[in-house]
Point group: C2
Chain length 607, copies 2
């Protein structure tokens, strides 16, 4: 079974990405060039990633005293990925890129996430380089970003610290000017950094010649104190090995030292590190601190970093989605081949009949259809958001602005929803396998372990919920929420006149109205503590409503296609979502609407 | 933080177990003797189990070519457990037992499940021996059961086969009479067994001198064929090493051979095996096949095995519960000590304030209260069911019969509900820890992995659901369901006149009515295929309704106690369940009531 028909349907029949080639930036592209990229990525993922997914789980990164050792398969996969050109897929031709729409890039990367999420596909490196392209100086772009796009160097994002995980305002890494001439370095204002960074993915390895760290730190004020809050945060580029303005290694190691590897429940193919900056392990150029170059203006660090956050969060959502999808395909294959028991007929069971394959059991079908509904729905959502990114970057001004605002509202869902429900899909994939699913002889337990990370990194579920209810639905006087409602209503209007979909269109309309009412009720007292006390149930209800909308819209595209098993399957998954899932929103919204204080008010000693 | 106050409250203030000592069997017992047992178990669990829970996860059982090697800590823990007398806690004084009520035994064993579920507390051995006490011959009881109670030998249950997991009617292990004098063996009719048994926990190890396997197999008919269906299944006791009628090892190894160790996602402290019976690895006494002794009558094997099923399933539910509880306590401790961020106040956040401990965040409180509500509710349910076991065994005839029938209805919930919701609790415990929860430096990821087994073994979720909706609510003309409704209504009647509980009593009444209506609607066409197509959503809704009842009843006991933080906490957890959880039942029951065919009717090729 291949993912490709689903991707093709969503990209072409549903989103109509081919039409993007009417825009100047994508004028050289066509269905054929898009397909060629997808073909290449599908092939590399199949040959270089999928066969080694268990290898990277069992051969966890380890530090041999000098270097971090990863399996050879990881080196091979990274090399194949870099050689495919995917690291610079979205970049200008003049920079060696393909000028590929982000939608197609995201779809192509989905194959790697499904084959082996933790070998990775350079998402951090691309995000790092994109950030430098947007906010770096000409030299920073040329020296750092271009070598990341080329696969010569890789990149990290260093935000969290041991005492500051989700609370970035408490970042305590300190950056001070590096001597008299610090403003004159060709690579940017040169600082010395000192601090500890936690949860740094790909923070140390030998996959590439150099590692380009992007580091949040604070520049002390005249009183020597770090400015409080997020406004005091600046951004620095800190290479593991120092380089000159022509991008040659100078032969000097920067003072960035591995302080520890994190040993994780899953996602073990990616090194995750605690890094010490400027602790003196590798003293450099006769002064204390790791050398870093300011990116953008002082105090603008978080703004620069968040510029790339939407795409990073879509990337996490896509990873969660594809882990779910991997489990769905694995359990579907198992269910089609494993004989066990007999389905219940009108007269019960007949033990003299031979055993049936388990896909004939209604409850196994339920578990498979739930997975399909979660994962294919999530994939549609991620691709829809990716299409908004393209619209934001290449659409006409008004459409671009709408896309930007819609992305603000949808990103918390794109990140959180697959993290929760495609994890649930992975649990169902285990359940379909029975005892075998719980063993390491089958892949599904690893998908489930790998996927558990996604509710945590790039902003936890709780952070996404606060972002959605505390910021996104309020911004610009609620215009983002209104815009989303318009899109949802447009789908409802098309569906309400389609007999197969009319009832679902009504159900979606009701859910949308309930979300709107709950939003108002949550903020009725204008007290953030009351409004946000149930932000996560709000996020869950909002997410289910968005997914119901996505499914209804996908169903319209499915109905426009000729009859086929795939069409039947899409309509079945849509119906599953409306019958089994959407009704859950009522329970979640009830506590939001009455600003239920049960949790917030329980005193600590009562737990 | 200790579990003990919760156990004490549930046993004494809620269930009033002390009153059991008015029954002849328990006349020598008192609150003091019960407490002494709990004290001992709490201490052994703290000293011999908890410190080694990670050890048994990382030092997985392995086969060195001759024997299965387990960590020394596992040997020490087993020895301490056996020496405590808990293996024979429920047995008669004349057999060296304590004549302890099952309720107290179950509560005492909870401490081991919480400290290290996979080191185990002899549940299988006790279940095996209990089965022999009920169905074995005098010699089988004396030779096998008593030596299991004494801790000298351990026991297994060998049901599943590679081709027959949940479908026991397809068991293909073959048992044929062992020669002319096969009926004259003092240990019972002697057979030769040949077949493969899968998923056998504790199937091979060196913890005890011998292993007593209880094996389901079929005796071929005159035509040499195995009888189809479950009615052809017989039960055999098959020792790993042969013994004589005085329980001495004869020095002969029986032909039971380890064919493989299963490598699991979690629960790694317990060896799980594929065993070959009679494959010729250890030929014995010049004929083919492993020697086994018939227990009970031919064809009665499954009935004998299921005699013990309720207690085994309560045991699984308790294990799931205590894994959830372990995560709750760990994450509560973490939340009380980890500074991170600031809670949202009426004016938002003030970054100049020092960071707060995360228990001050509303969403962290929500995640903690959800865990408390799931796990303490589940513990109450398990102890309630255990109390029914005591009533069944020692109550007056009518009460005993009611207890038996209630147990039939409640067992699928006692097994499945904690398996699902205390697993969710473990996921929340990880989430409270953030990134740290995903590392193996903290215990919560292991609890989550360990707990994933419980929806699979001792009857999957799907099997429990079919049992509940397909058998238990129908049996004796629905009398079990009526009986449960009477108990629920009795609680409602008491609560409806209590101001703090009246609204919840009403909500429970409505949920109960909906479950009743959905049961009727599911069977309205009397077609099992239609009725059972949504058995799992039914199980989920039924379970949530039962838990709401349990919480309401617990709340009545809490309100009767003087004010205290623990009382506030119990009432808070009860409110959480009614506000956040019970409303979910509507979504689950909707598909049951309309016999939604979305899943069952989707053709295989449409997935």
């Amino acid at each position: 079974m291949s993912l490709r028909p689903t991707v093709d349907f969503l990209l072409n029949d549903w989103l109509g990405v081919e039409a993007l080639n009417q825009r100047e930036r994508f004028a050289d592209h066509s269905r054929e060039t898009f397909d060629a990229v997808l073909d290449t990525c599908e092939r590399i993922a199949r040959e270089k990633y999928a066969p080694f997914n268990r290898t990277v789980d069992t051969q966890e990164p380890h530090f041999d005293g000098e270097r971090v050792v990863l399996p050879q398969a990881t080196h091979d996969a990274h090399q194949a990925y870099a050689e495919s050109g995917m690291l610079s897929a979205a970049q200008d031709y003049r920079l060696g890129g393909m000028q590929l729409p982000y939608t197609v890039e995201a779809a192509a990367n989905a194959f790697f996430a499904m084959a082996s999420v933790s070998i990775g596909s350079g998402m951090l490196t691309v995000g790092n380089a994109n950030l430098l392209m947007a906010h770096g100086s000409e030299a920073q772009r040329r020296v750092f970003a271009l070598n990341e796009f080329a696969g010569r160097w890789s990149g990290t994002m260093c935000l969290s610290e041991p005492q500051a995980g989700s609370s970035l305002s408490d970042v305590a890494t300190r950056a001070v000017p590096d001597g008299e001439g610090f403003m004159d370095d060709p690579l940017g204002p040169r600082f010395r950094l000192k601090g500890n960074k936690m949860w740094i993915s790909a923070g140390e390895h030998e996959l590439t010649e150099n590692i380009v760290h992007l580091v949040l730190a604070k520049i002390p004020g005249p009183d020597g104190k770090l400015p409080p809050g997020v406004k005091g945060i600046s951004l620095f580029v800190v290479p593991k090995k120092l380089v000159d303005a022509s991008a040659q290694l100078t032969g000097e190691r920067n003072d960035v030292a591995l302080a520890g590897l994190n040993h994780k429940c899953g996602w073990r193919g990616t090194t995750n590190t605690l890094l010490n900056f400027g602790e003196g392990k590798f003293p450099v150029r006769g002064a204390a601190g790791a050398i870093g170059y300011l990116v953008g203006q002082p105090g603008e660090g978080l703004r620069c970093m968040f510029h790339m956050m939407n795409e990073a969060r879509i990337g996490v959502g896509m990873a969660a989605t594809m882990l779910g999808m991997a489990g769905y395909h694995a359990s579907l294959d198992y269910a089609k081949n494993r004989p066990q028991g007999r389905p219940v007929g009108p007269e019960g069971k007949d033990p003299s009949r031979p055993q049936s394959r388990i896909i004939e059991h209604a409850d196994v079908k339920r578990m498979l259809l739930a997975q399909k509904s979660y994962c294919e729905g999530a994939l549609a959502l991620e691709l829809y958001c990716a299409r908004l990114v393209d619209e934001q970057h290449t659409g006409a001004p008004e459409a671009a602005d709408e896309a930007r605002l819609l992305l603000e509202v949808l990103t918390p869902i794109a990140k959180s929803w697959p993290s929760e429900w495609c994890l649930e899909a992975n649990s169902l994939a285990i359940q379909v396998h029975g005892g075998y699913g719980y063993t390491r002889d089958f892949p599904v337990e690893q998908y489930w372990r790998d996927n558990r990370l996604n509710m945590i990194h790039e902003g936890t579920h709780g952070i996404q919920a606060m972002d959605l209810l505390g910021r996104k639905v309020l911004m610009e006087n609620g215009r983002g929420l209104q815009l989303l409602a318009q899109r949802v209503n447009a789908t409802i209007q098309r569906a309400i006149h389609t007999p197969e979909l009319a009832a679902h269109a009504n159900a979606l309309g009701q859910a949308l109205a309930q979300v709107g009412a709950a939003t108002k009720a949550a903020w009725a007292t204008a007290n953030p503590a009351e409004a946000l006390a149930n932000a996560v149930p709000y996020l869950q209800a909002f997410g289910h409503t968005v997914l119901a909308w996505i499914w209804l819209d996908v169903a319209l595209a499915a109905l426009a296609a000729p009859d086929s098993p795939a069409r039947t399957g899409r309509l079945g998954a849509m119906r599953f979502f409306f019958h089994y899932e959407l009704p859950k929103t009522g329970a979640w919204l009830a506590v939001v609407s009455r600003r239920d204080p049960t949790c917030a008010e329980l005193p600590e000693e009562a737990f």
